[in-house]
C-alpha cells in the first residue's frame, strides 16, 4: 500500500473504516524511515519499539470502542527539542548527547493523550539556531527534492521527513522562521501559532519570548487536526494564554469571499528571487479567484526585524543556555582542573560554532554600557514592528507574501557567511517579534525545488489562517507533490 501518500486525515479515516490498523501504519512508516533516512538524516533517535507498542495499544483501544479521537494511532515524530521521558533529547547538540529526559514536555503529553504514535526524534539545528540544519551535531539534513540542497532550519529534520513522506506529520518549533522556512524549502505545510497558544514547558528554550511550537504536515487540514491537540493553556508555562482554543478543524470550509489579504510592499521589493516572486504572484491570483480582495499594505519598520531579532534572540539565548555548565547533566569535560576549567572546556567542547557565536552576541548586547543601546533599543523597535502589524490588521484579514527570499540553497553554500544565512528569515522574523500566527504552504516550484507562500493571521487567528490555506489547497495540487525519489 502507499499509505505514505495519504494525509493524516485520510489515514485516520482509513483506520476508522477498518481499512488499516495503527500497527500496519507504524510498520509502513518505520520501513520508510529505514529505507530512506540514511540518505536524508532526518532522525536523531528512532523509538520504533515504543512506537509499535503504542500502535498496538491504539488498535486495542479501537477494538474496545475506546478510541481517543481522530489522531489515535497515527504515526508522527517529534523535533528533538521536546523533552521526552526516558528518551534521549539532544536539541541537536553534543552538549545533550547523553541527556535522557526524566520528564515529558506538555506538547509530548498532549499528543500522547491524543493517542499519536511517535516514531522518534528529528534532527535540527543545534539549539534551534540555524536556517539550514547544518549546525546540528548529528550532521546535515538533506532536502528531499534535491539532496545537495538544505532542507531549511532549524526544524530541518521534521520538514524533510514530512517532505519525503517518512512520516505524515511532525512537530516543530519556530523562533524566527524555523517552521515556515523549512516548510517552504521542503514543499509542505507548516504552521507556527500565536505566541502563548502552545505550552513551551519541556521545549528546550532558545529565545523564550519568541519560541513557539507548531506543526508540519502535508495539508492545512492535517496541521489543524494536530495543532488542535497541542494547543491550550498550561499552568506550567506562565507565558501560555488562558483562552479557549478555537475549533480549528470544523472552521475549515469557509469561503474567502469578502476577505481582504494584505501584501506588505516591503516583502516584494528588491532581493526577492524572480522565480519566488512569480510563484507567489500566481498564488495571490488564485486567492483573488477564491473571492479574496488584495491590498498593498505598509509595514514601515519591518526592515529592522533582522537586526532587532539578532539582539533579542541571542540575548535571551545567552542566559537560557547558561544552565549547560557540566554540573548536573549533559556533556562534561574530562578531568577538569578547577571550576573555571570545568566551565570553559565543557562549554567549548559541548557547543558548536553558531551557538557560541549567538551566546557571545547576546552576552555583548546585555553587557553593562551596551544594554540600553542594544537590548532596550531592540525592545522598542520590536514594539513598533508589532504595532505596524496590528495597524495593518485593522484593514486586512490576512497578510501574505513569500516565505523566503529565494529557493533552497546548496549545502555548505552559506555556512561561511552568517549574515547571508540570517537574511533567509527576513520575511518570517517579524511575525515572531509580533507574536502572530504564521504559516507556509507550497505554491509552486522552480528548478525542481518548492516555493512557499507565507500567510500571517491576527493574534489567535489560527482558524482563519488554516482555513485560508485549506481553501487554496482545495483548488491547487502543489501540496500533493512528492519528490520523485521518495514516491
Amino acid at each position: 500500500m502507499t499509505w505514505h501518500t495519504k494525509t493524516l486525515t485520510e489515514l485516520s479515516n482509513a483506520i476508522a473504516a477498518r481499512e488499516t490498523t495503527s500497527r500496519e501504519l507504524a510498520e509502513h512508516f518505520i520501513a520508510r524511515v529505514e529505507a530512506f533516512d540514511g540518505e536524508l538524516n532526518t532522525f536523531v533517535t528512532r523509538t520504533f519499539d515504543a512506537a509499535l507498542a503504542a500502535a498496538d495499544a491504539a488498535d486495542a483501544r479501537r477494538a474496545a470502542g475506546e478510541s481517543l479521537g481522530p489522531l489515535d494511532g497515527l504515526p508522527f515524530a517529534h523535533k528533538d527539542i521536546f523533552c521526552t521521558k526516558g528518551v534521549k533529547t539532544t536539541c541537536g547538540s553534543k552538549m545533550l548527547d547523553n541527556f535522557i529526559s526524566p520528564y515529558d514536555a506538555t506538547v509530548v503529553e498532549k499528543l500522547q493523550a491524543a493517542g499519536m504514535v511517535c516514531l522518534g526524534k528529528t534532527n535540527m539545528d543545534e539549539f534551534a539556531m540555524g536556517s539550514s540544519n547544518e549546525t546540528s551535531y548529528y550532521g546535515d539534513v538533506k532536502n528531499p527534492w534535491n539532496t545537495s540542497k538544505v532542507p531549511g532550519g532549524s526544524s530541518g529534520g521534521s520538514a524533510s521527513a514530512v517532505g519525503a513522506r517518512l512520516v505524515p506529520a511532525t512537530t516543530g518549533t519556530d523562533t524566527g522562521g524555523s517552521i515556515r522556512q523549512p516548510a517552504a524549502f521542503c514543499g509542505i505545510t507548516g504552521i507556527k501559532p500565536t505566541y502563548g497558544r502552545v505550552s513551551r514547558y519541556g521545549m528546550i528554550a532558545f529565545a523564550s519570548s519568541l519560541d513557539q511550537a507548531g506543526v508540519f504536515a502535508t495539508t492545512a487540514e492535517d496541521a489543524a487536526l494536530m495543532l488542535q491537540a497541542m494547543s491550550g493553556f498550561d499552568e506550567r508555562d506562565s507565558t501560555s494564554i488562558e483562552r479557549p482554543v478555537d475549533d480549528l478543524v470544523t472552521g475549515l470550509g469557509e469561503s474567502l469571499a469578502g476577505k481582504t489579504i494584505g501584501l506588505p510592499k516591503q516583502f516584494f521589493a528588491d532581493g526577492l528571487e524572480p522565480e519566488v516572486k512569480d510563484a507567489v504572484d500566481a498564488a495571490i491570483n488564485e486567492y483573488k479567484n477564491l473571492g479574496a480582495e488584495v491590498k498593498e499594505i505598509d509595514l514601515p519598520n519591518i526592515g529592522l526585524s533582522v537586526p532587532v531579532y539578532y539582539v533579542v534572540a541571542p540575548a535571551e539565548a545567552s542566559a537560557n543556555l547558561s544552565r549547560f555548565d557540566g554540573v548536573r547533566y549533559g556533556h562534561r569535560c574530562d578531568n577538569p582542573e578547577d571550576l573555571t576549567d570545568l566551565y570553559k572546556r565543557t562549554r567549548a567542547e559541548g557547543f558548536g560554532d553558531e551557538v557560541k557565536r549567538r551566546i557571545m552576541m547576546g552576552t555583548y548586547a546585555l553587557s553593562s554600557g551596551y544594554y540600553d543601546a542594544y537590548y532596550i533599543k531592540a525592545q522598542k523597535i520590536r514594539r513598533l514592528i508589532r504595532d505596524d502589524f496590528l495597524k495593518a490588521f485593522e484593514e486586512v484579514d490576512l497578510i501574505a507574501g513569500p516565505t523566503t527570499p529565494g529557493l533552497p540553497f546548496g549545502l555548505g553554500e552559506q555556512t561561511d557567511d552568517p549574515v547571508t544565512m540570517y537574511l533567509n528569515d527576513i520575511f518570517t522574523i517579524g511575525v515572531n517579534l509580533a507574536g502572530l500566527p504564521g504559516m507556509s504552504i507550497p505554491v509552486g516550484e522552480a528548478s525542481g525545488l518548492p516555493i512557499g507562500l507565507q500567510l500571517v493571521g491576527k493574534h489567535f487567528g489560527e482558524a482563519e489562517l488554516l482555513n485560508a490555506a485549506h481553501q487554496y489547497q482545495q483548488v491547487t495540487d502543489w501540496h500533493k507533490a512528492i519528490p520523485a525519489a521518495f514516491q
Binding site: F82, C83, T89, C91, L96, F99, S101, P102, Y103, A105, R200, Y201, G202, M203, I204, A205, A207, S208, S209, E235, R236, D237, S238, T239, A315, E316, S318, A319, L321, S322, R323, F324, D325, V327, R328, Y329, L339, Y343, T363, L366, S367, S368, Y371, Y375
Partner: protein, 478 residues
C-alpha cells in the same frame, strides 16, 4: 581617637519568606531535609523547564510594604541576574532590579533613648541559591539544591545608619517586624534572616560619601556589631596611614574578629540583568493591597502605644514586651486571665525573660505557659504566697513540677497567715533574744530587721510579711 570621623552604614537584609513551596516551583522549602530531596526538575534547571510564580509571595511582600509604610508597586518585574556558580542551577538568579515590589519605606529605631527614622530604599523578591558543600567527598564539592529557589525578600536600607549600634537596632527592629507580620520565621541559625553591611567612613562634615566595603553574610546581631566596628576601625586606620579604601566585598571571620577581602570591584561580575522572558510582569491592584492591609496584625509600635495607654505600663516595660510578638501575646494572655497588668509585665519582663535567656528558649518553648503564670500571679494577689516565694514557685513550674498550686502544695510554700501561729512564734523569739529586745526598746530600731529575719527563718519565709511586721511591732512595743 576616631572622633573626627563619621560612619555611614547601609544594610541589605535577606529575609526568607514563610511559604510552603519555592518561589518558582512546587518543591518544599522545609529546612534540614536530605540533600537534593527537595529539588524537582524546575529547581534542577533541566532543559525545557519554566518558572511559575508562587503567588503567596506577593501577599507576604505586600505585608512588609505596609508595615514599612512603603510604596507597593502595582507592577513589578522579575529579571535575570547572570553569573555562573555550581549552586546556581540556571546560571542566573531570578530577582528584581528596575521595578521591585516594595520601595520608599521607613523604619524607626531607638538608640540611647533617641528615636531615628531610617529610610528603606526597596525590598525585592528573589530566589536563593543552593549550597556548595566543600569536601563532600575526597577532592570534591557537593551541591545541595534543596535551598535553590527558596523565596527571599532582600530589604535594602538607605545609607542612614551611623554606628554599629544603630545598625544592630535597625536589624533587630526589622527582625522583630518580619516575625510580627508572619512573613519570616527569623531563624538566624538556619539562615532565614541574613545581613550584608555596606560600610564607609568620611571626615566629619564632608558631604561626599567615602568608598564603601560590603561585608557579606553576617548571621547574628553580635557579629554585625563586631564586624562593623572592626571595619570602621580598619578603614579609618587605613586612611589615616595614607592609604585608600577600595570598593570590595569582604567576609567577616568571627573567630579572628576581622573582615577580609573576598573580591574587589574590578573582579566583580557584570550581571547583565534583563527582564525574565519566562515570567510576565506581576500586576496587582488596590483591592489586593486593601485585602492584605485588612489582614495585617497590629504592628509593634502601635502595640507598644496601646500597652502604655490601655494598661498603664511604662514606655520601657511596653517596649520590652512588644519587642517580640510571641512575648506580647503571652503578656496579653496573662492579663486576659485576670492578672493585674503591671504585675503581669513585671513577671514577663523579669523572671520569665531571665529564664528564657538563661536557657536560650523562645517564648513559645517556655515550660511555663501564660495560664500557669496567671495562676501563680493570682496566688500572689490573694496572699497565698509572697513575691519572694513566688520565684521559687516559678522555678518549680519551669522545672515541670506542675502548676502554681501543685508546686505550692508539694513544697509547702503556702504563706502562714494564721495570726495565732505567728504570734506564738514571735513570743518564742522575743523570749529567746532578750538582749536584742532590750536594744530595740532602747531605740535601736535597726534591730527590727533581725526579728523579721528570725521569723522568716523559723517559717522558711512563708509567713505573711505584712502580718509579721504588724505583730512584731506590737509585741516589741511591749
Amino acid at each position: 581617637m576616631y572622633s573626627n570621623w563619621e560612619t555611614v552604614i547601609g544594610l541589605e537584609i535577606h529575609a526568607q519568606l514563610s511559604t510552603n513551596s519555592k518561589l518558582f516551583s512546587g518543591s518544599s522549602i522545609a529546612y534540614g531535609a536530605e540533600p537534593n530531596t527537595q529539588a524537582n526538575e524546575v529547581d534542577l534547571a533541566l532543559p525545557g523547564t519554566l518558572p511559575v510564580l508562587n503567588k503567596e509571595v506577593m501577599n507576604l511582600a505586600a505585608r512588609l510594604g505596609i508595615a514599612l509604610n512603603a510604596t507597593i508597586n502595582k507592577r513589578s518585574v522579575f529579571e535575570r541576574k547572570n553569573y555562573f556558580y555550581p549552586d546556581l542551577p540556571k546560571g542566573y538568579q531570578t530577582s528584581q532590579l528596575e521595578l521591585p515590589i516594595v520601595e520608599h519605606g521607613e523604619l524607626f529605631i531607638s538608640v540611647n533613648g533617641e528615636e531615628k527614622r531610617i529610610g528603606v530604599t526597596r525590598a525585592h523578591l528573589e530566589e536563593d541559591a543552593g549550597k556548595s558543600i566543600h569536601g563532600a567527598a575526597e577532592g570534591c564539592t557537593g551541591i545541595d539544591l534543596n535551598r535553590a529557589g527558596t523565596p527571599l525578600l532582600e530589604i535594602v536600607s538607605e545609607p542612614e545608619l551611623s554606628s554599629a549600634a544603630e545598625a544592630v537596632a535597625y536589624m533587630k527592629k526589622l527582625h522583630s517586624l518580619v516575625q510580627y507580620i508572619g512573613i519570616c520565621d527569623g531563624n538566624m541559625q538556619e539562615g532565614s534572616f541574613r545581613c550584608d553591611a555596606n560600610v564607609s567612613v568620611r571626615p566629619k562634615g564632608q558631604e561626599e560619601l567615602g568608598t564603601r566595603a560590603e561585608i557579606k553574610n553576617i548571621n547574628s546581631f553580635r557579629f554585625v556589631e563586631k564586624a562593623i566596628n572592626y571595619e570602621i576601625e580598619r578603614q579609618i586606620d587605613l586612611i589615616e596611614d595614607g592609604g585608600e579604601v577600595v570598593q570590595e566585598t569582604r567576609l567577616y571571620d568571627a573567630e579572628k574578629n576581622e573582615t577580609r577581602s573576598m573580591r574587589s570591584k574590578e573582579e566583580a561580575n557584570d550581571y547583565r540583568y534583563f527582564p525574565c522572558p519566562d515570567l510576565l510582569p506581576v500586576v496587582i491592584d488596590d483591592s489586593f493591597i486593601d485585602a492584605v492591609r485588612g489582614d495585617m496584625p497590629e504592628l509593634p509600635d502601635a502595640k507598644k502605644a496601646r500597652f502604655v495607654s490601655d494598661f498603664g505600663l511604662s514606655d520601657e516595660d511596653a517596649a520590652q514586651l512588644t519587642n517580640s510578638r510571641p512575648m506580647a501575646d503571652y503578656f496579653e494572655a496573662v492579663v486576659a486571665d485576670g492578672v493585674e497588668a503591671k504585675m503581669a509585665a513585671n513577671w514577663c519582663n523579669g523572671e520569665l525573660s531571665a529564664w528564657l535567656n538563661k536557657e536560650e528558649k523562645d517564648v513559645a518553648e517556655s515550660p511555663v505557659s501564660a495560664a500557669m503564670l496567671a495562676g501563680m500571679c493570682k496566688r500572689i494577689a490573694d496572699n497565698t504566697i509572697s513575691n519572694k516565694i513566688a520565684k521559687e514557685v516559678f522555678e518549680g513550674m519551669w522545672n515541670g513540677e506542675g502548676d502554681a498550686d501543685a508546686v505550692i502544695d508539694a513544697k509547702g510554700l503556702k504563706q502562714i497567715t494564721d495570726t495565732g501561729a505567728i504570734e506564738a512564734m514571735i513570743d518564742e523569739i522575743i523570749a529567746n533574744n532578750a538582749g536584742q529586745v532590750e536594744q530595740y526598746r532602747a531605740g535601736k530600731e535597726k534591730v527590727f530587721g533581725f526579728f523579721v529575719g528570725q521569723v522568716m527563718k523559723a517559717t522558711q519565709g512563708k509567713a505573711n510579711p505584712a502580718q509579721v511586721n504588724q505583730i512584731l511591732k506590737q509585741k516589741l512595743a511591749g
